[in-house]
Assembly symmetry: C2
Homo-oligomer: 419 residues x 2
């Protein structure tokens, strides 16, 4: 017979308690060698633990409002609005009432688990001013769902998505004056969750802090598109089947800086992550990647991106590009496909004149056209003529996405913040 674990050995686990609270976590993925991985967290929701209640929000307004920066001085993620939204969670009580307070430092014990074991996950999303002066969020439900998946994967608490969207709406409304009223500008929102338990024991945190800060940002390409050059990375690996590369965890970012710096030291804007012997294309820097290629046999134009196999981030922009492409490009003769494709296939397509264009997709830039990729000592040209900075699909996608984000086009993806 198996003994139950002794109380002492499990003390680090029981400190956090087995919360009957973690949201459904289902990461089922498949290695190229056909080994199956899956990890399921308990999907049941406890009744005795409180979820977020937007009605309990308290607001303390700043007494020293910040001056607005001129739009041209906005730098991504450097300047923040007057306030921040924060919610504390404890394993025994659940989510405590949310607070909007003046933007302020966090005061944390140096033994807090976020500093040691990377109990942290986040989201990136934006608020936009529409032509009627209203505020819009873009697919906030997708960000909330992903944040819940990320937090559950590292034993942080989950929450009711609608309740947090409610609170974020109130926060954004309060700091509305920071949303620039110009096309291409927006208010970048950064929901962040960190483990706050004060212990060096390695176990599930018994307390956490969810906070949202907001930074006004300008267009990624202020003077129009500027195509980037990539370096294919084959000497380091970002993610692995059965790992956490599909979650938006802090843990996925710090290890990516050195390859990014090395690519930059050789004159490239970003690195392109390849995977495995086959050198599958996964993602670029902190964006997903799309390639438009004419099919070798049929000549049909295909818009390709890597599938959600656990090794790439489940980008909201990626999903939106796919959705728009299926709705609007397929009727024009395109095939839209999430499938594994290799660097060699892209290189061959370039050699044979079939590579139409390549672009990254992410919240910051929407789309980021790629001019060339350095791979195995050669430069693979990605279909852009000299002095042309973006292909037609990238241009079209940006136009379609912005029309929805800024509310020019009525669309289910655009969430109107109640006035």
């Amino acid at each position: 017979m198996l003994q139950q674990p002794s109380a002492r050995l499990l003390s680090s686990l029981s400190r956090g308690s087995f919360r009957p609270f973690a949201a459904g976590l289902s990461a089922s993925l498949r290695c190229r060698s056909q080994r199956a991985y899956s990890l399921h967290a308990d999907a049941s929701v406890g009744t005795s633990i409180k979820d977020i209640d937007p009605a309990k929000l308290s607001i303390t307004k700043t007494t020293t409002p910040k001056a607005l920066l001129p739009p041209e001085e906005l730098i991504f993620g450097r300047n923040f609005t007057d306030h921040m939204l924060s919610l504390e969670w404890t394993a025994s009580e659940g989510w405590l009432p949310g607070k909007i307070t003046p933007y302020q430092n966090l005061s944390l014990d140096p033994a807090t688990c976020v500093f040691h074991y990377a109990f942290e996950c986040f989201e990136g999303m934006k608020a936009y001013k529409d032509k009627n002066g209203g505020i819009r969020l873009f697919r906030p439900d997708k960000n909330m769902a992903r944040l819940n998946k990320s937090s559950a994967r590292i034993a942080l608490p989950t929450f009711d998505s609608d309740a947090l969207i409610d609170l974020i709406s109130t926060f954004v409304k309060l700091d509305e004056r920071f949303i620039p009223d110009m096309r291409g500008y927006s208010l970048y929102l950064r929901p962040t969750m960190i483990g706050t338990q004060r212990t060096l024991g390695v176990g599930p945190p018994a307390s956490a802090l969810l906070y949202v800060i907001a930074s006004p940002v300008g267009p990624y390409y202020p003077t129009g598109f500027k195509a980037v050059s990539l370096e294919a990375t084959d000497y380091a690996v970002r993610a692995w089947p059965g790992g956490v590369g599909d979650k938006k965890l802090g843990a996925n970012y710090a290890p990516c800086i050195l390859p990014q710096m090395q690519a930059a030291s050789r004159g490239f804007h970003q690195n392109l992550w390849l995977f495995g012997e086959e050198e599958y294309i996964t993602e670029v820097g902190t964006m997903n990647l799309f390639a438009a290629i004419k099919n070798k046999e049929t000549g049909q134009p295909e818009l390709l991106t890597a599938p959600l196999d656990g090794t790439i981030l489940e980008g909201v922009t990626r999903d939106s590009v796919l959705g728009l492409a299926r709705e609007r490009l397929e009727p024009r003769g395109w095939k839209v496909d999430e499938r594994k494709f290799t660097m060699k296939q892209v290189s061959d397509a370039a050699d044979e004149g079939r590579l139409m264009e390549v672009f990254g997709a992410g919240t910051a830039a929407i789309v980021s056209p790629v001019r060339r990729i350095s791979w195995k000592g050669r430069l693979v040209e990605c279909g852009l003529e000299d002095k042309v900075e973006a292909g037609p699909i990238a241009l079209q996608m940006k136009e379609w996405m912005e029309a929805i984000q800024y509310g020019d086009e009525d669309h289910a993806w655009s969430y109107k913040v109640p006035a």
Copy 2:
């Protein structure tokens, strides 16, 4: 011709600057499919940037000394000494003078990069009281070397190891009264480095904080060994070739909690990480793993542990067990080998009566005997008879290690803190 990256696109990189400072980083590893990975950081050391200077240390003593806890109330990593050691670093100035101050909270902007991108790494080491009342550290040079490798891998600064050992010695001496004067007790030291730049841009941090906190701890097994049961994890992967699983990064820890909880929910103390189709044994929970097996052909006893191929932590205790085994077990007819071995080989050895014992190795417990491993629906018994809680090699290793750690035996691994 390749263009240089535009200033705007590289702004997140140039913020941190390409410091000519990162220590030599060389992680050359080999995947089972024979694909080679390596990542080399610049090993040159800048002359204009200051390294740690122990002579510049300032000390501010607490005015409210804490009461000492009774030894039996000590819980790992929960209670800390009166003071902490901290050093700030900036990309422009290098290491600023170290400070010993009263133990206190860190005050950090919510946009600080440690909260978002897991710019954090740490060490675990211990200070011991010897029979003459002196203080000893165990192989602190190994911890410093590993911290430098960890920090360089995530674009955090490196430092002079001897200088930090100097400062840690002063710190430990100041808080000497917290080191329990009893066998099995020690002062656990936690050097930690975090990125402190206040920006959401993903790039190398332009500022960092290195701090050391100390927690008095009791023996891992206060009433003698208690063998643990493990669950082999094949549904999730901790580390992979070309990744960062061999570095002591926060990023490697949060993703391990859920498998640990799942193992515990089925009655096991820890999970055992397998890798690949072959189900190689890598490490257990937060420890390295050793197996003592009689060779199938020759009958020779072999002490096996996984090799440093990039997928396991380079444990100081692991290295020490290997060193002692080579010095003291090989003359007794043992073979000591760092090589890949599979769960099936361990299971076969158990079936054939060749599995002598299995134990984990780490700073917290030194050695942690394993009674059984759950794998593919069966329980693999690891050579311990009923009511026996540790095998002879585990017992011997603990004895040898403690004799060195507590200074009973003069050994180069024991570092005497100057009185």
